[in-house]
Symmetry: D2
Subunit: 342 residues, 4 copies
Amino acid sequence: MNFASDNLAGALPEVMDAVVAAGKGAQAAYGGDEWTKRMDKHLSEVFEREVAVFLVGTGSAANALALSMLAPPIGRIFVHPGAHAQTDECNAPEFFTGGAKLHPVAGEHGKIKADDLEAAIKSVGKDPHWAQPAAMSVTQVNEAGTVYTVDELSALGDVAKRHKLGFHLDGARFANALAAKNASPAEMSWKAGVDILSFGGTKNGCLALEAVVLFDKARAEEMGYRRMRGGHLFSKMRFFSAQMEAYLKGDLWLRTARHSNAMAGRLAEGLVKTPGIEILHAVDANEIFLTLPVKMADGLEAAGVRFYRWTEGPRPMIRLVASFETTQAEVDAVLALARRFS
Amino acid sequence: MNFASDNLAGALPEVMDAVVAAGKGAQAAYGGDEWTKRMDKHLSEVFEREVAVFLVGTGSAANALALSMLAPPIGRIFVHPGAHAQTDECNAPEFFTGGAKLHPVAGEHGKIKADDLEAAIKSVGKDPHWAQPAAMSVTQVNEAGTVYTVDELSALGDVAKRHKLGFHLDGARFANALAAKNASPAEMSWKAGVDILSFGGTKNGCLALEAVVLFDKARAEEMGYRRMRGGHLFSKMRFFSAQMEAYLKGDLWLRTARHSNAMAGRLAEGLVKTPGIEILHAVDANEIFLTLPVKMADGLEAAGVRFYRWTEGPRPMIRLVASFETTQAEVDAVLALARRFS
Amino acid sequence: MNFASDNLAGALPEVMDAVVAAGKGAQAAYGGDEWTKRMDKHLSEVFEREVAVFLVGTGSAANALALSMLAPPIGRIFVHPGAHAQTDECNAPEFFTGGAKLHPVAGEHGKIKADDLEAAIKSVGKDPHWAQPAAMSVTQVNEAGTVYTVDELSALGDVAKRHKLGFHLDGARFANALAAKNASPAEMSWKAGVDILSFGGTKNGCLALEAVVLFDKARAEEMGYRRMRGGHLFSKMRFFSAQMEAYLKGDLWLRTARHSNAMAGRLAEGLVKTPGIEILHAVDANEIFLTLPVKMADGLEAAGVRFYRWTEGPRPMIRLVASFETTQAEVDAVLALARRFS
Amino acid sequence: MNFASDNLAGALPEVMDAVVAAGKGAQAAYGGDEWTKRMDKHLSEVFEREVAVFLVGTGSAANALALSMLAPPIGRIFVHPGAHAQTDECNAPEFFTGGAKLHPVAGEHGKIKADDLEAAIKSVGKDPHWAQPAAMSVTQVNEAGTVYTVDELSALGDVAKRHKLGFHLDGARFANALAAKNASPAEMSWKAGVDILSFGGTKNGCLALEAVVLFDKARAEEMGYRRMRGGHLFSKMRFFSAQMEAYLKGDLWLRTARHSNAMAGRLAEGLVKTPGIEILHAVDANEIFLTLPVKMADGLEAAGVRFYRWTEGPRPMIRLVASFETTQAEVDAVLALARRFS
């Protein structure tokens, strides 16, 4: 039973069928194919605005490319200390930006507060010794599994705009965030001030599909060259664009995200009643962070439940993630096991 | 009729089936899956030696990562002036190496000669003003469609070894090269002195599959971090490793390459007899470079034959490429059209 | 009265005389001159060991070049959160290393503790998502004005060696540190495990003189190319090497540092008795960090005392720095003013 | 007798005196001093236009910083194949631009022709595989010792403007170029379309003085951060700004350049009449490139004439350079020696 991560799951059948269908016959390379031609239009509809879309194969690539568009090498990028870009991308942001500095702004439950962001910006004066505020990168769903409300995001966007920062949203689980807050894609991105979005598909059932979505089409040309320079321009692009088409069709992406969120919600509801378990953050989407007795953790693992341990000791901190493949039966089985080991 | 490039072709059915089969159920992410675990072993058998393999999605990524392992930022990388890394990768080699300089060494029919390489190396003295010789990158099948013999490669490898250069082989069409010379993978790589190989799959029937093959396993750890830093570590790696497994199984890759080469050979044989056509380089593998009357070029295009024009004018230079999808009937149709417009 | 920084001071007469003397007649460029030829030998004597020395014009250049020798782009460099390299070099370390990440390790009074360093190193597992521990950079005199003892430095060096980290010492005020602890240059550098030292001259009376000192001569060649690539190879090197010769001659550098330290010590002794003043860190060398009533700060400034304010408010934090030019009369004048405004 | 290079010469007495004078008392660091405050004004007068000036210590730093302002990492910079930036700066341009590619455009006597530049630009289509035309860097006096006329420069500037390229002029010997053509600084820079000028002082009698001159002041702020990030912001800036003040005062720089040019002219005039010598390029400024019998070259060297040999063999190619220190007596002595060995 996989609760380790949503990227351990397989592929949505609809997405896989689309890949298979795309495999026949000749198609122009490097995005000249039929699927890619339609993609900007599809995503422009999703976002209720003209957008430019660049597919890549990993979230780290999407994030690093987005940041390279927003921060010069002399720049400073404000992030949460737990941000994936800061902790888990092996210096990809520094690489793609040519050496910009990530500047952590702490906040509870994985969220940066607008006031703290503003204070951090103001702490950096106009002096050549100090890398200058250039951008902010916010994760949604964030690394504590909580989801910024549209108002919270907009407050950050206002600060960014006031100080002329670029606003990047790392939406590796963007669908789960939308589902969590019942917000529209537009509300949770450009209407809140987002300039560039990393739009995730892999964790939500695609094979390898992340999109860099630019809300300012004027910068699309530069982005195309940057993607190529990073080695991220697929020659047989159709195999990626076809995933996107299936992913969006009939709101598959949102239905899938709602399912994952619901499974995590059901699981959290049960866990909170289980003696010995402490849930650490609001379970807004499909991730649960909790501490539990080590005996329970060991027992769950021994019984075949897969998850990541963040810390060791008598009360380890673990994360449980639900995916499109997670079933109600699996959730109930985990709950039964937890009760047994509590 | 696609003769534009082998990367306009679809996917080999065996490869696609493997991808579909990999799509079910949970698998460890980032290469912890069953397919990836077997991959090093499979490729070690292919190369008759322990190798370390790193999958990425594009040839440019494979090349740039390989070069970043061989050339420091103060280094100089010798390449043919027509090398893909030099002309078609939008500064990816400079990006990944931190600013190493590509140093062109001219040669007929897309090949660098060992003597010319040595002269180029010797032209660079030990002076801090001059970026130092660090690596050489050779393309096999090269950009003129010709294939280095094992002896030619080995001669280059000897020069590289004598001057302590790293030796990178850009094998985007490595299978076609092997098929062309009936050489073993070992003979055409590490036995000839190659340190790192970009092992191509996409052009020969995969969806997106390029492997960086390290013949020195001691450097594998660093490479893993560099791949991640470039945003090239797929979370659902199984979808790529499964392609590799199918691609290698029963020598599918070599059979496919032999087919492409045979189709190009048949086409070249007919074209050479067609009045008005001049073939520019030996057709060693699956690519034909030729000049022809513009009327013939226009006629072929109008009749639905797709190809790239390298130059314009009354006698444009064009390239015709055969792929695993190319049929004898298509070849014969092109020949008939060529004769009609000659 | 300058107490703002030692880099506001002019030049030591002996150093200036040497520059003037170097200005006549032809000398080989780029370090082929007489002074530079002698320099490695002079510094090898100072350090009781063969060293390789590379002069540059700024401390940031020295630091960034040193770090580029110790940390690859996938690396992590442990620093104090207040380290000059982290806070005041406008991303130069990230630039020269190709995007390595500075990892702050907090500690009181500007010092990193060996245990905290070790814990930080151990917190980073062998996972491709995590930039790997590569180097540590320690400032001596540090940014709180305190000086690591030889034992403290050695303890850090032991941790570095155990974990195969490169050890860089930012010695912009190395002379002041030696004077403070009465240690030998060898004890406070390579004997404590330091691999590369930024050896400062500018703040202690030179015009522009910082040396990157490599204790492993085998790496000197690479460093020469890296200096040139950074645009830091002076053509008329003699004007810098001549400064070094005069700076070292008859221990001028140590005598000057002792003077600065003594002036700061006298000043601190008086300030500590002045009501309203709180000294924040031990005054080990030539810098004093203190808080004082804003009225006193304003009064001092109005009376012509120059210093930097770190914070504002009713009790600003300020820094007072003594230099080779500071006189006892100036110190006593400041003390009298402070008492007047207290 | 130094004819090896103008950077083997010492310092102009006026410049040295200014450095000495600047050495007394406290001055604000990092350019807050009296000399630096006046510098922009002085150079604005020289150039008959508001300029922003950034001093650095080497020509390579000036060039690389300038190019980093004009070319993004996905860019292409057109240069002469012999350009110092291409051949002698150990990848500094690639480093500072984040990996832009230098694209050589050949031309006789060290000059790029406007038509050839335009053809090179047009050869690069709008395709993500191809690094995009971004800037051109022209050397004046160029590497063959010839000087572009104002018309030639303007023709290049017109092409640059038409194709939206940034125009960098590497003026390591800018004074010699002005003296050669009797042109005004304005005519030979911004009026001809130059965006950023590397304004050299070192070769013409300063200790270490190169200025990056921006004709668009709006970009000055970014440049200040880039200079710091490169480690090129001197703390005791006064020692550099004071050089500039003395260098400009009473047109010292132009008088000195005229002297060097006159000495080279006299030398060339004599050499051209010496049997066995072939002068290769017009001697526009202070450099002479020639071939001569190896016996003569050896004889000159044995007699104490210092020069660089570009090639070996029976008729080596050598360069003779006159500097501010070159005397008529030295010139006549070389001529006598040449005749003796002819």
